[in-house]
Amino acid sequence: MSEKKRLDLEYSQLDSDRMRLNVGPQHPSTHGVLRLEVEIDGEIVTEVIPHLGYLHRSFEKHCEKMTYPQIIPYIDRMDYISAMNNEWPYVMALEKMLDIKVPEKVEYIRVIVAELNRIANHQIAVATFGLDAGAFTPFLFFFRDREYIIWILEKLSGARLLYNYFRVGGLAGDTYPSFKEECLNVIEKVRKTNAEVMDLLIYNRIFIQRTANVGILTPEVAVNYACSGPVLRGSGLRYDLRKDEPYSIYDRFDFEVPVGKGEVGFVGDCWDRNIVRMQEMEQSCRIIEQALAQMPETGDVKANVPKRIKPPKGEVYMRTENPKGDLGFYIVSNGTDKPERLKARGTSFVNLSVIPEISKGYMFADLILILGSIDIVLGEVDR
C-alpha cells in the first residue's frame, strides 16, 4: 500500500469533526519542551497523549560514570526550579549508607534553604498558573519576590539557580553574617505579596470560574497514579513526608499541612491544587521563622566524612518532600566510589502521568490550566 493510501485510511478512521492538535514541543504553555498530542472535538478534549523525551539528558547513565560527589550538580539540573530540595534526598541517602550523623547547624541551614527554595518554587508554580489563565500581573509580582530569595541562595552557594550547595555530610559553606535578617525580610515580603495575589488572582471571580470544577482528581485516582505533593494534597489527602515520616529535623517544627477542601468547587480541582501551594508558602515561612530562632549560632557545617566516598555494598531508597511532591533516589552501591545504579523517581514524571486521565472531557483551554496546576518541570520529567 502506498504511503498516501495508508494515510487516507488512518484519517478515515477519525471522526470527520475531530481534530488532532500538537500542543508543543514549542508552545507558550507547556512549561518546557513537552508535546501533548491532543484530539479535540470542537473545543472538547477527547484524548491526550503526552510525548516525552525532548529534554532527555541520560541522567542515570551519566551517574554510573561519576563519583558520588560529582553527581550533585547533575541532580540540580533535574528540577532546576527547586535545586536545593533535589540535592537533599540524594545526600541523605548517602549519609544513611555511610552512617554519617550531620551536625545540628547543617540540619537547620538545610531546612531553611530548602523551605526558601520551596517558596520560590511555589511562587513560580502559582505565577505560571495565573499566566496560563491569562493573568500577567501576578506573574511579575512573584518573580520580583523570588529574586530576593534567589539573592539569599546566591550569597550562600554562589549560584542563582543550580546551587550545588549540599555535600555528603554537610554543606558547601557556612551562612553569612546578615543571613537571619535577610531571611526575615524575605518572609515579610513573601507574605505581603501573597496577600495581594490572594485578592488579585486567587479570589478573582473569573479565575474561580476558570479553575473551579476543572480537572478534578479524586483521591483514589491520585493514589493509584502515585501523585504526590500539592497535586495529591489538593485532592484532600493529608500526606506530607515532613509530617508522615519526619526526616531531618522536621519533627521539631510546628506547621500544618494544607489540603484542598473544595472551597469553590469539588475537592481536587485546579483551584484546590493552586490554593494548597499558596498556603504551603505561608507554612514554609513559619518553618523558616522557627528554624532561624532555634538555629545554633556556631558549629561545624561539615561532618567527618572520608575523603573518598565509598558506601558499603547495599542499596537505599530515600525520599523527601520536594515542593512538587516525593522525590526519591534509589541508589545501589557496589562498594566502589561510583554507583552501580541510580534511579531518580522524578516527581513531575509521575504527576504528569495523570494528565490523560483527568483532562478528558474538559475544554481545550482547561487542558492548559490542568497542565499548569500540576506544576511540572521538564528537566525532571525527561531527566
Partner: protein
C-alpha cells in the same frame, strides 16, 4: 508491619514463589520473589487488609550482569509501612508481568524500564519507548551498551 512479618505472611500464602528476605542494615530490606508469580503477589500486597500497599513509590529496572532485575518500592498510605520487592529475570528472556493494572502509575515507570533497560513487561497495554526516540535501538542502561555512531544522519555524542 515490619519486613520480616510481611515476608512471613507472603511465605504462608505463596510458599516457594517467595524466594528470600535480605536484611542488611543500613540498606533497605527487600524480598525477592519469583517473577512468574509477581502479578498475584502484587495484587495481594495491594488488596489484603494487613498489607494495603496502595502507593507504588518507584519501579526500577536494573542490569545485574546475567540477569535483569525489577525493583518495586511500595508504600501504604493507610498503614504507613514500606517494603521493597525484587524480581530477577534472565537477560535473554526478560519477561516480567506488568503491574500496570494494579497501580496505574506503573504505566510510565514500566515504559521507562523497557526503554532504558529492556525489560519486557507482559500485559502492558502500550509498551513503547518513553524517553528516547521511538525508533532508537538498544537499551542504554545495560552495562554492555555501546552508543551508536549515528542517528538519522546526526552524530551521537
Amino acid at each position: 508491619m515490619l519486613p520480616n512479618e510481611i515476608f512471613e505472611k507472603l511465605r504462608s500464602v505463596y510458599s516457594d514463589q517467595i524466594i528470600e528476605l535480605i536484611e542488611n542494615h543500613p540498606s533497605d530490606s527487600f524480598i525477592t520473589v519469583n517473577a512468574s508469580a509477581l502479578f498475584e503477589i502484587c495484587h495481594s500486597l495491594r488488596d489484603e487488609a494487613f498489607f494495603m500497599f496502595d502507593y507504588l513509590m518507584s519501579l526500577t529496572g536494573m542490569d545485574l550482569g546475567e540477569n535483569l532485575g525489577v525493583v518495586y518500592h511500595l508504600y501504604s498510605m493507610q498503614l504507613k509501612h514500606k517494603i521493597v520487592i525484587k524480581a530477577f529475570v534472565p537477560k535473554e528472556q526478560p519477561k516480567v508481568p506488568s503491574v500496570e493494572r494494579i497501580w496505574r502509575t506503573a504505566d510510565w515507570h514500566e515504559r521507562e524500564a523497557y526503554d532504558l533497560i529492556g525489560v519486557n513487561f507482559e500485559g502492558h497495554h502500550n509498551l513503547i519507548r518513553i524517553l528516547l526516540p521511538y525508533d532508537w535501538e538498544g537499551y542504554p542502561l545495560r552495562k554492555d551498551y555501546t552508543a551508536p555512531e549515528m542517528y538519522h544522519g546526526m552524530k551521537v555524542s
